[in-house]
Amino acid sequence: MTATDYSLREMMTLMAAREIQDGDIVFAGTGISMLAATAAKHINAPNSVLFFETGAIDSLVEELPLAVADPRVMYAAASNAGLLEAFATMQNRITGDRVIAILGAAQIDRYGNLNTTAIGDYHRPRIRFSGSGGGCDVASFVPRCIAFMQHEKRKFVQRLDYLTSPGQLTGRGARAAAGLRPGGVSVVITDKALMRLDPATGELYLDRYYPGVTIAEILDNMQFTVDTGTAREADPPTAAELGILRERCDPQRLILG
């Protein structure tokens, strides 16, 4: 049974949750990414392992953390260490290759590169953001990264003002040439669509558009175009998914609003 009454924020969260496979080590940031990781754990990937850059592994999230340093990530974890251990777990290929990460950004380009640092001149920016945090590290190390984006023209840009977190850099082959292992953004989830990165081209393509959204509307809200040849409509949230998301994952609606 599919639901018809859901918010785009709920849709985005569940689209991300569906990307997580059982047994994945899920690197979660703050906000909607943490909610998606929690949702996956409750819905489709019960043996996925929640993992935070602050060093907590397999936390028992009884209340939704509002930051990756929220004490709610520390409770009943398998291990509480620190930043070095967390990032080493991703840089180390033995464990790192099992990680799927969820990131956000202010800007993304066709190659899946992300900007979370600044708009305008770096030295005197028009808008300054928080900076990399662990984003650059994760995008450098992890084979699968989900990027959450608002689907707006100013965010899907021809050229990033600052490349914080490496995707495919200038396209196919560029990542390896720079010395990076395979990885970076592989999926982009917006309030209109889900795009994937095609390893053959090193560029994004449209994979799913949300019910009620047209392909034209998707392309109109980006500065660059993407291949839409294989695009299909996304499955809307099921009632079961929504129920768990609303009642178990964010009953206080801290993230869902």
């Binding site: 060093g55 930051a67 928080s130 650059c136 801290l254």
Partner: protein
């Protein structure tokens, strides 16, 4: 409690180990275990031109910047969870050209502290290749070369000297940090300076070991015997510590695991005030400059608020606390 030459009032420790232009770092991460009592004391004493090294020390970083204490900042992330996805006074200072910033990633900053702690000039990582973090420098080469306390190069990209060993062709080398002084807040310290941190350590251990001087504030100050029961749980041995100050609620308004939660009300009120100059001055005058010390801030905030953030003994945080 026997006094030692390390046990002192926080005011004494700040006066003794801080000065204008000092290179410093602070422990904690965004809304957790920032050494807030020490930071407020630094703000009250009005140090200037500080060179601050941070990874994601959100609340403390924004307070120091907002007070105009910081001239140069090396940082990975200036955000503060839900209350301020980008720290507001930080953003403003950067956009207004009032603050010189050098950007790294969280791992890079942690590795830089680790290199300092280990006594090596740099650490290698595979992070950041191809990114603007490696190519765009906030501190100019000329400025770096003119200042012996700042390393000449932000980072170096090198070939892997072991061929393809470790499946790496290139590495990013990030330079060591050895701050003049680091402030951390921990749950338990003994009078010799040994520390036991509950919950995540973030990069506090590496920051402390990298630092020439370390000032520890603690919830509980105990006799050394108490921490000797399980030496394996003590992350920072006394060798690294210069001063120990007993400051209950010394992390407030950030969280201290198993003791108290962050004060979401305070952080929200701070963020709201930070958006506007006059409001910020009023807020800070009331909560920082207008109080004599950290206890006076706690008195001002009041017992009811402190009761509301008390940690639940089972989970270590304030269960069902209103945070939205």
């Amino acid at each position: 409690m026997v006094e030692t030459d390390k046990v002192m009032r926080l005011e004494t420790a700040v006066s003794r180990f801080m000065e204008d232009g000092a290179h410093m770092s602070i422990g904690g991460f965004t809304v957790n275990r920032n050494p807030m009592a020490a930071i407020y004391e630094i703000v009250r004493k009005g140090y200037r031109d500080l060179h601050l090294y941070a990874h994601s020390n959100g609340t403390g970083v924004d307070e120091l910047i907002g007070a105009g204490c910081v001239g140069k900042l090396e940082i990975a992330y200036a955000g503060n969870g839900k209350t301020a996805p980008t720290c507001i006074r930080f953003r403003k200072a950067v956009q207004d050209g009032m603050l010189l910033v050098e950007d790294y990633s969280n791992f890079m900053m942690s590795l830089r502290f680790l290199a300092g702690a280990m006594g090596i000039p740099f650490m290698p990582t595979l992070s950041g290749l191809g990114s603007d973090i490696t190519t765009t420098w906030g501190f100019s080469k000329a400025m770096r070369q003119a200042d012996p306390k700042i390393v000449d190069q932000k980072l170096v990209i090198a070939e892997n000297p072991f061929g393809r060993w470790g499946a790496a062709e290139k590495v990013v080398l990030v330079p060591a940090i050895n701050p003049d002084v680091t402030f951390i807040h921990v749950q338990t310290a003994d009078t010799m300076g040994t520390c036991r941190i509950d919950g995540l350590t973030f990069a506090d251990v590496e920051q402390a070991k990298a630092s020439r001087r370390v000032v520890v504030t603690c919830e509980r100050l105990v006799d050394p015997g108490e921490l000797r029961d399980h030496p394996e749980y003590n992350q920072i041995p006394f060798l690294h510590v210069s001063a120990v100050c007993h400051v209950p609620y010394g992390g407030y308004p950030t969280a201290v695991y198993r003791h108290y939660d962050y004060d979401a009300d305070y952080l929200r009120a701070y963020a709201a005030a930070a958006k506007e100059e006059a409001a910020y001055r009023v807020f800070q005058k009331r909560h920082v400059y207008g109080v004599a010390d950290h206890q006076a801030l706690l008195d001002l905030v009041g017992a009811a608020r402190l009761a509301a953030i008390q940690a639940d003994p089972r989970t270590g945080y304030a269960v069902n606390m209103k945070r939205g």
